[in-house]
């Protein structure tokens, strides 16, 4: 990416990405109860702040950039580039509009997005200081490390060149390195926290705890769409080598995948429950956005519709499977939309991606995607679970019983989000 027009378009796309963060904050807040609405919003702000600062402090150093020093292992005569060794605090690095500087800004915003994902799953019982500690770890180490492997000449990026696996692991917009990393971190944290008090009855059946604002949820989903257009387009320019004109394909694919996913979730919930479900439809919509990211530059619009429709169905069933089958209490549907949707997006990229003939063989592309998914499940999940368990001993994650009964707004912030309104009576029921 060298020409001025591409740089300008990339900067415009970067400016759209914070809208995805706003959207995720609104979705997370809307899907929770009203007594934790302000807490979720302020937590989103704190998490985003901690994430971008930690990325600036050390994350960018571990991630590195093309041409920066890195630590390399030799295995079987091939080099395995496993972690960046760039200076911390953006030292010796100019933010001058070069490709490397755009990658740095893009990744910093994406670190904030990835860090917001666990909040949706752990809402209403995760203490603010614990969120900040966990986010520091995610944005300061886990996210940049996986990012390095996937995108800036790391070993996953190189499996195509070194081992003939297609074009290496492809994930231009972050189905894996943003969404699945965030979604699997959310799963780890929910396992550590346990369900909300009163979520499961004595017979282990889940009680419905309705979302407090469908308007927040749907408006958040629409904001996410705008943010994702920037996210996928910037990713395609920076990591897929897209020309400014090709961003139109990215915009079409992203929009079609989200639309197909939203509609498929709407139809599935309509058929199963007799009427469409607003929160599941919105989760399906976000699942479609997430699934569109990996291959948005390399698939055809019709394939984006198929990938999105499957994502919507998968997310709908995953929400139910997690809640009923696995007893995982995920009020924001983050694990389903971001982890399940993200992993499906990586698979879909392996199935549908087509490259120009002159750029090399496609064979082995699906295996490269499987290697990336195996890395997410075999490294990211155990690692995040382990380090969050350790952190939980130092900074207890779960709020006290009294705090949970009061609600996070009153307990941690001292004031409700809606002091002038009468809130739902079910919120006062002693559980």
């Amino acid at each position: 990416m060298t020409n001025g027009l591409a740089t300008v378009i990339c900067i415009v796309c970067l400016l759209l990405i914070p809208l995805a963060a706003c959207g995720m904050a609104l979705v997370n807040s809307g899907l929770g109860r009203s007594r934790a609405a302000a807490h979720t919003m302020i937590a989103s702000l704190c998490i985003f702040s901690v994430a971008v600062i930690m990325y600036f402090v050390c994350g960018f150093g571990f991630q590195g950039f093309a041409g920066a020093p890195s630590h390399v292992l030799n295995a079987g005569g091939k080099q395995w580039d496993w972690i960046g060794a760039a200076p911390f605090f953006f030292r010796k690095f100019e933010l001058d509009g070069s490709s490397a500087s755009l990658v740095a800004v893009f990744s910093m915003l994406c670190a904030g997005l990835a860090a917001l994902i666990p909040l949706g799953a752990a809402a209403e019982r995760w203490r603010l200081r614990a969120m900040c500690a966990s986010t520091a770890l995610l944005a300061g180490f886990t996210f940049p490390l996986f990012n390095h492997w996937v995108r800036v000449g790391g070993w996953l990026d190189q499996v195509g060149i070194n081992y003939g696996l297609g074009h290496g692991f492809i994930d231009v917009g972050g189905s894996g390195w943003i969404q699945a990393v965030g979604g699997l971190t959310a799963l780890s944290i929910v396992w550590i926290l346990g369900p909300r008090r009163g979520k499961y009855s004595s017979t282990k059946m889940p009680n419905a705890i309705p979302a407090h604002s469908a308007v927040f949820v749907v408006f958040g989903g629409i904001l996410c769409w705008v943010g994702w257009l920037g996210l996928n387009s910037a990713g395609a320019i920076l990591f897929g080598g897209a020309t400014p004109g090709q961003t139109l394909l990215v915009i079409v694919n992203t929009t079609l995948a989200a639309a197909a996913a939203g509609l498929s979730a709407l139809i599935v919930t309509g058929l199963r429950f007799g009427r469409p479900d607003a929160s599941l439809t919105c989760n399906g919509w976000i699942g479609g956005l997430v699934a569109s990211s990996a291959g948005c530059l390399f698939i055809k619009p019709a394939e984006a519709v198929v990938a999105g429709a499957i994502a919507g169905i998968l997310v709908t069933y995953a929400v139910e499977w997690l809640e009923f089958g696995l007893k995982v209490d995920d009020p924001g549907g983050s694990i389903s939309a971001h982890a399940v949707g993200g992993i499906w997006g990586l698979l879909a990229a392996g199935l549908f991606a087509r490259f120009p003939a002159q750029s090399g063989s496609n064979s082995g592309q699906f295996i490269a995607q499987l290697v990336g998914i195996a890395t997410l499940l075999g490294f990211v999940l155990p690692f995040t679970y382990g380090v969050n368990r350790l952190l939980n001993w130092l900074v207890p994650y779960r709020v006290s019983i009294e705090g949970e009964r009061q609600g996070m707004d009153l307990h941690e912030l001292g004031a409700d989000a809606y002091p002038e309104f009468v809130v739902h009576t079910e919120e006062f029921i002693q559980r």
């Binding site: 091939k78 369900p195 696995l326 007893k327 490294f379 999940l381």
Partner: protein, 59 residues
């Protein structure tokens, strides 16, 4: 059981990693990658199972 599950997740990943430098044939590599993923699925089910047991014990 949860620890064993997480070890299996890591073990599955190592199988996947080992397949690339050790095997030349794409077909064999694909089989090993799928085998590694299968080990990860078993590990994941162990972790999930232990989580369910812990939830039951917690009441």
């Amino acid at each position: 059981m949860k620890l064993a599950g997480f070890f299996m997740l890591v073990a599955g990943w190592f199988i996947v990693l080992a397949s690339m430098p050790l095997l030349r044939s794409m077909k064999l590599m694909a089989i090993f990658v799928l085998a590694g993923l299968a080990v990860e699925v078993v590990g994941m089910s162990l972790v999930v199972r232990s989580h369910l047991i812990l939830e039951d014990e917690a009441g």
